[in-house]
């Protein structure tokens, strides 16, 4: 039991260990300078990420409450990587912040919660992990302590999270009422598509939809992103969404498989709504954080297209896309976060002729946006292609055509940012910014990922083989 325990819960234990190390550092001595802490934390996160590649195995613990397999472990390590990149990118924001330790403790607690959630074999465990991941997130939304907007974002986030948790809990209790079990492996046998179960499913779907900001449950997204620190916005839009999407996809494909016929149409409707709404709002944004918020809503719409495909291709394409999404979105957020931390400028107008003064940052942002738009040779092209391909497998060409149309709309606003940076003739408003080594490394990792993933096909093969 003990060895198995350590191996299977490797990810959770490592993250918990880092939290404890930070706690001891905080309690033990107050003389740590911010820079030292940041270097130490980033190194710890790096070690954590590297460890994620070793000793992966399948198994269950605590009477199937906790289960893990290679796919879940791959997903967890993707989140580890994302957390590492975000941490490195927020160096210039955090180096003068008064509460670095607390920030990381809260951040890692949410990560821990997500890991538990992803490994859950039971709805109760799932809910436990979900709450552990949500409440600290609301706290770090408020981490621009002197900004009113930041507190507002936190309040919005916590209230809407509570609402979505309530919906989820209601749904879960209905599931328990109609089937008598909350165990993921037993549930499919008890689901028969009765009206009450469908109602329960809709409630659970709504709960998830809040978390991954699917229209019409997306209203909090832009406000919270705009108010919270950019690093937290990046965390919300990439890590948190990816974690919930992993769980969502696997729950749909395993637990709710017996009623696939009913959720297929719901997903169709939701994805069309999400893509259009995200796109049409993104076109009108000037604040880059809000812009990225709506663009990420659109991306969720595309992911729903992939989920609505059949099992293996759909699951593989979603995981593959999220891997690429981590790199692309963090690349974009990285530049915005850096510029925002150094100059406080977040509006698109501020980026006029950005390329003239900051060719490196402008190139990173462009490549990331191209990847988000799905333009080859960036990885986003492959991700989008496979998502839509998975959606086409059922022969729903209306959905595919709508998705293709939305790719064009989204291209417009991504290119508009590129246009602002490269083609404006006026004087640049942001002067030349020296990029610190952490941010630079994180950006280079993102760019390398974006440019390389499509040409290293075994990544896709590996994911495809795992998504049975």
């Amino acid at each position: 039991m003990t060895n198995e325990f350590y191996v299977l819960m490797k990810f959770e234990l490592l993250v918990a260990l880092i939290i404890f190390i930070l706690l001891f550092m905080k309690v033990g001595s107050s003389s740590w300078s911010n820079k030292k802490v940041l270097v130490a934390v980033n190194l710890l996160l790096l070690v954590n990420f590297v460890f994620g590649f070793f000793m992966n195995s399948d198994g269950t613990l605590f009477g199937e409450m906790f289960r893990t397999n290679k796919m879940v472990e791959l997903q967890k390590n993707m989140l580890n990587l994302g957390a590492l990149i975000i941490s490195a990118q927020s160096y210039s924001w955090l180096k003068n912040h008064a509460h670095v330790m607390e920030f990381y403790m809260l951040l890692l607690s949410t990560l821990l919660g997500m890991f538990f959630m992803m490994s859950a074999g039971n709805f109760l465990m799932f809910y436990l992990g979900l709450e552990l991941s949500t409440i600290p997130l609301a706290a770090i939304c408020n981490f621009d302590l002197e900004k009113r907007q930041s507190s507002e974002a936190a309040i919005k986030f916590i209230i809407l999270s509570a609402l979505s948790s309530a919906l989820l809990l209601f749904g879960i209790s209905l599931v328990y009422g109609t089937t008598g079990t909350l165990n993921f492996s037993e549930l499919p046998g008890h689901l028969n598509g009765s009206a009450l179960q469908l109602f329960a499913f809709i409630l659970i779907l709504a709960g998830f939809a809040f978390k991954i900001s699917i229209v019409p449950f997306h209203l909090w997204t832009a406000d919270v992103y705009e108010g919270s620190p950019v690093a937290v916005a990046a965390y919300l839009s990439v890590i948190s969404k990816a974690a919930f999407l992993f769980v969502f996809t696997s729950v749909l494909y395993t637990v709710f498989k017996p009623i696939a016929g009913s959720w297929y149409n719901m997903l169709f409707l939701l994805s069309v709504l999400t893509m259009f709404t995200g796109n049409l709002f993104a076109v009108r944004q000037n604040n880059l954080k809000r812009f990225l918020a709506f663009s990420s809503i659109t991306q969720m719409g595309f992911i729903l297209v992939g989920i609505s495909g059949s099992n293996q291709m759909g699951y593989a394409s979603v995981v593959y896309f999220l891997l690429i999404y981590i790199f692309s979105n963090l690349g974009a957020f990285g530049v915005v976060a850096f510029v925002s931390a150094v100059t406080g400028k977040e509006n698109m107008d501020d980026y006029k002729a950005f390329y003239k003064t900051n060719p490196f940052l402008a190139s990173v942002l462009s490549v990331s946006l191209f990847s988000l738009a799905g333009i080859p040779p960036t990885a986003g092209f492959f991700g989008k292609f496979f998502l839509i391909m998975a959606g086409a497998e059922r022969g729903n060409y209306i959905l595919i055509s709508i998705a293709a149309l939305n790719m064009i709309i989204s291209l417009y606003y991504y290119l508009r940012v590129v246009q602002t940076m490269f083609m404006e003739e006026s004087r640049a408003t942001i002067e030349r910014l020296p990029v610190n080594i952490f941010a630079k490394l994180a950006m280079l990792v993102c760019v390398a990922g974006i440019l390389a993933i499509g040409f290293v096909p075994w990544i896709y093969h590996y994911i495809y083989a795992l998504s049975l």
Partner: protein, 501 residues
């Protein structure tokens, strides 16, 4: 010959350019890369002839198949037939000429040459692809560099034009995307698997219902690239706002991507639907030819004249494809090559004139022959090629299209052919008028000081393109021999399909 060289040479060039410091190094690297591309093109031509001489009649030569995403049966599969070889040669000509024409460029020359070379990766990759995924991948690669080239180095309302071009071309490729997915999921290769492989799909019979549903997507999507009416509106804005080299690439190669796709993917893979939809395409192509010609008459800006005339000329390509006879398809491919060279030359000449006179309005110029004889001669030759003077490539290509088109006895086809033929008169009007206004007569614009004739690099560029035009115009049979067997395969495919129904 290893076809991947055609991708690696520009890729390497692009990397070297990124590492270069200073304009001189960048130029040298770009020129070396351009020459290497052209050499590779010629080596390919020779190797291709040799294979054919030794009796190798395989449809696609020099094939290389490498698994890319094997669970989805996506491969990097390349190979060439005569049509691809012709298009690859055309690309290498235009790219080299484009590099030479932009030799003196000062604004961000590194980025400029990088994007220009990067663009050629897309074109080469597209022309050698035998896998629809690879083909689509390279098709989309060739869009965004154009957006940047026009938006950064362009003139006039460049931001608008760049965005319009990018969105319309990506819209076209999105249509192609839907069509390709539709094809993919209706193929049944060995073991019930689907396939993106062009040669494999050609052997399968795609159900007629599926063909009829997805042919408009694929043909229309490629048609956007090939300026199919009513999707041609990006052409005038894009071409006239672009810097010279980008205009050359756009009109010379980019529009040919569309024609090539219509032929290779839409017509070849969905022959039944191609036959069924032929009247629609013929009507649209005829409208494009005539409308393009008349719209050109109204233009005063030389670049707009050439851009609108490109709509008209590319109409011949689509007309030739839709006529579905072997001669007409031969003509369509010849027209692609010929128009590619001609229009690149025309844009180069206009660019040279604009650099010296700072205006492109024909009426404001005049008497250029007196002060820049070389450029003027090039301009006149390009114009004569455009209006189809015998001895230059335009005549050969257009005559072939018309002969092929006339082989269809149907009334609609005959009417379309006659109307398209008539457009040549209009072409003559606008070309000769432009030549008369800009080149002949007294020198009107004398405030530009001492403007010289073409410099060595400009001469070199013009000579390259002129050599191509003359080689086709004087001795068209080599091109014919190159294209004809490949066109025959397509037409055989269509005939079989029609007989079967």
């Amino acid at each position: 010959m290893n076809l991947s060289l055609l991708i690696f040479i520009p890729l390497l060039t692009a990397f070297v350019i990124l590492l270069c410091r200073g304009e001189k190094q960048v130029r040298a690297a770009a020129l070396a890369g351009g020459v290497a591309q052209m050499l590779a093109g010629f080596i390919l031509l020779v190797a291709f002839w040799q294979e054919r001489e030794t009796g190798n009649t395989t449809q696609m030569l020099f094939q290389y198949n490498h698994q890319w995403f094997s669970p989805l049966q996506i491969n990097y599969h390349v190979g060439v037939d005569g049509i691809s070889v012709a298009m690859i040669l055309l690309t290498s000509f235009v790219v080299l000429a484009g590099i030479l024409v932009s030799w003196k460029l000062e604004k961000m020359s590194k980025e400029f040459f990088f994007l220009l070379i990067f663009l050629s990766i897309g074109a080469y990759g597209y022309f050698i692809s035998l896998d629809l995924f690879t083909l689509f991948f390279f098709l989309e690669i060739a869009v965004i560099p154009k957006f940047l080239l026009i938006g950064i180095w362009g003139s006039g309302k460049k931001q608008y034009s760049a965005m319009k071009l990018a969105l319309m071309l990506m819209g076209g490729s999105a249509m192609v995307f839907v069509g390709l997915l539709g094809l993919y999921f209706n193929t049944n290769a060995a073991g019930g698997l689907h396939s993106f492989d062009l040669t494999q799909i050609a052997q399968m019979h795609i159900p007629l219902r599926v063909q009829k549903l997805f042919f408009p997507f694929v043909f229309g999507g490629f048609g956007v690239f090939g300026a199919l009416f009513p999707f041609h509106t990006w052409v005038p804005d894009g071409h006239s706002s672009a810097p010279t080299a980008a205009s050359m690439f756009l009109a010379g190669i980019s529009m040919k991507l569309g024609g090539y796709g219509c032929l290779r993917v839409a017509t070849y893979l969905m022959p039944d639907a191609a036959h069924a939809y032929a009247p629609v395409i013929i009507v649209l192509a005829t409208i494009a030819i005539i409308y393009g010609a008349f719209a050109t008459m109204m233009q005063t800006d030389l670049k707009y004249i050439n851009a609108y005339s490109s709509v008209s000329h590319c109409g011949f390509v689509l007309l030739g494809i839709a006529m579905l006879t072997q001669t007409s398809i031969n003509g369509a491919v010849m027209q692609m090559v010929s128009h590619g060279l001609m229009t690149a030359l025309f844009f180069a000449a206009i660019g040279m004139i604009y650099d010296r006179m700072h205006t492109r309005v024909a009426a404001q110029l005049g008497g250029l022959l007196k002060i820049m004889p070389f450029i003027s001669t090039v301009f006149v030759l390009a114009g004569l090629c455009s209006l189809g003077l015998p001895g230059l490539s335009g005549f050969v290509a257009e005559a072939t299209v018309f002969m092929g088109a006339w082989q269809n006895p149907d009334t609609l086809y005959r009417v379309a052919t006659i109307l398209s033929c008539a457009s040549i008169v209009v072409t003559a009007v606008y070309i000769l008028r432009a030549v008369g206004q800009a080149i002949m007569g007294p020198l009107k614009k004398t405030d530009q000081g001492n403007v010289g004739d073409a410099s060595w690099n400009e001469k070199f560029a013009a000579v390259i393109l002129l050599a191509g035009i003359l080689a086709i115009g004087v001795a068209p049979f080599w091109l014919y021999k190159l294209i004809s067997p490949a066109a025959e395969v397509v037409i055989q495919h269509v005939t079989n399909a029609v007989i079967k129904n």
